[in-house]
Subunit: 146 residues, 2 copies
């Protein structure tokens, strides 16, 4: 992706086009896997040593809020524990951040069957867990009814 295209992306969101933002976005493109803020900082260390970690965090948050990137694992919240050891799925309430259990044998069967036909090369599946992100159902909000 060219610098021009990055600029357009920023512009399209109404964001100011700053060197820090361009550099951060480039770093994300360049870095393999799922970089952390630190990774970005390290990557930029050579060409752009003056950029601050704080700025990178701000920039990443801005990107997330504008739908330019996704946050994969949010480390800010507290760790949650579970006494229930059986395999089950999780509902992530994207509003409150609460996680609740979701039991459904049907899904398990469905997925097991699916993966029997679509094996993942070089990978032996031990367990499958589904993370379902969403929010409390708008119980028939007035504005949504047709």
């Amino acid at each position: 992706m060219t610098v021009e295209e990055i600029k357009e992306k920023l512009y399209a969101r109404g964001l100011k086009v700053t060197p820090q933002r361009i550099a951060t976005y480039q770093a994300l493109l360049e870095l393999d896997g799922h970089p952390t803020a630190e990774d970005v900082k390290n990557y930029l260390a050579k060409n752009y040593p003056s950029i601050t970690l704080g700025t990178i965090y701000n920039t990443l948050n801005t990107f997330v809020n504008n739908g330019l990137i996704k946050r994969i694992k949010s480390g800010s919240e507290s760790t949650q524990y579970d006494v229930v050891l059986e395999s089950h799925h999780h509902l992530y309430d994207t509003v409150s951040g609460r996680i609740s259990d979701y039991y459904d044998e049907g899904i398990k069967d469905l997925l097991e069957e699916y993966f029997r036909e679509h094996e993942i090369p070089g990978f032996e599946i031990e367990d499958i867990q589904i993370d379902i992100f969403g929010k409390p159902a708008s119980q028939r909000t007035e504005e949504n009814e047709e």
Copy 2:
């Protein structure tokens, strides 16, 4: 679950049976959902105010390491970001701990269809992500073939 049973559980793991551990385990059983260390502390505030947050953390870690409970979302690690916006899944290598992306539109369709028929009461799905746990396919490891 009775106190006796909890004691047995601890004993079975070779852990010392202390009031703090019993209380913490009880709290986990009693608390709905996926309590945090703070939640446990709050729960115990009335009957066991002297227990420390530090101890609770230690205790929970001990429990996790001994397979008594599971950690759901580990808050200690850094947040990871992803420029790739398409919904995709993650392969967790339970041996190395590595996470890699797994793209498969088929699953998405499958799950969307499934949940169209099996709605989750009170929950509006925004995104579904699958965590597939497993290990590199045993390509005929020496120790396993007899």
